[in-house]
Assembly symmetry: C2
Homo-oligomer: 162 residues x 2
């Protein structure tokens, strides 16, 4: 279901055509599976989960898969070099909370999502769907990361029609 | 000094043109500055350096800036949740060593480097220059990461000539 393109018409600069193409790719087509944990998880268990799933960030969710926080390798490393026992520290103390979490939706373009990661200097963010009109409750439906971008980049470079 | 492109000729599929363009971008034009530490650094000091420089991986170098190892957030997190004092553990115990380090050179294309990161499932790698004919000694001259790729991707999407 990925966007297809045909032949070019002449007279458009390549940079423009690149840009046009990139702006047609949607997050929903490329997002990765989210790795979620409950709010009562310890920092230690979050680290173990991170290694088991081999991801750089994990989402902390409330009932119904609603986004409560995001925790990165960096957040966990910060706690781990402190003097506390990571088994005793709840992950909620290490995570970034709403409303400070940067999110994207499935309708965003891969370009806009990539720009967000660069602008906010983060490695990944949750792909969400608002479940109320005010957009205060967000259901986590995916993960968008720099790995996602690198994969898209390699796909574009494969000299095949994308 | 980045590669410039002109107008397209018709009849080439967009995927092909994307690929052709991406394969002209060289690592030397896009690489980031490497963050290096000496072999006698502790895991604790490596973690502090990682936070200060806000990078995901650090290179361990011998005299003359020659590559000895690579240490990632993941490597350091693994030591940090162990029961050892991170101040007592040398970073050489946590790092990936030569010849197991994935490297790229300035002459590699950004596409080939991106493909390496994906294929080896790593977030970054050192950009090196061999200093002997056998290629056994590698001088670290840069850092190529998924952030580098994301930045190139955003640049491509900016709808301007690249």
């Amino acid at each position: 279901a990925r966007p297809r393109v045909g032949y070019f018409y002449a007279g458009k600069k390549s940079g423009q055509i690149f840009g046009d193409q990139l702006r047609k790719m949607l997050v929903r087509e490329y997002k990765a599976v989210p790795i979620n944990i409950a709010e009562n998880t310890s920092v230690y268990d979050a680290i173990v989960m991170m290694f088991m799933e081999d991801v750089g960030s994990i989402f902390v969710v409330k009932e119904g898969g609603l986004l409560a926080g995001v925790v990165s390798r960096k957040d966990l490393l910060k706690v781990a070099i402190g003097n506390q026992d990571t088994r005793e520290v709840p992950v909620t103390l290490a995570m970034t909370r709403m409303p400070n979490i940067v999110t994207v939706t499935g309708d965003d373009t891969v370009y806009d999502a990539a720009k967000k990661l660069i602008d906010y200097q983060i490695d990944s963010c949750p792909v969400v769907r608002p479940v109320d009109a005010a957009g205060r409750n967000l259901e986590v439906i995916g993960r968008f990361t720099k790995t996602t971008i690198a994969k898209v980049f390699v796909e574009l470079g494969e000299n095949r029609e994308v």
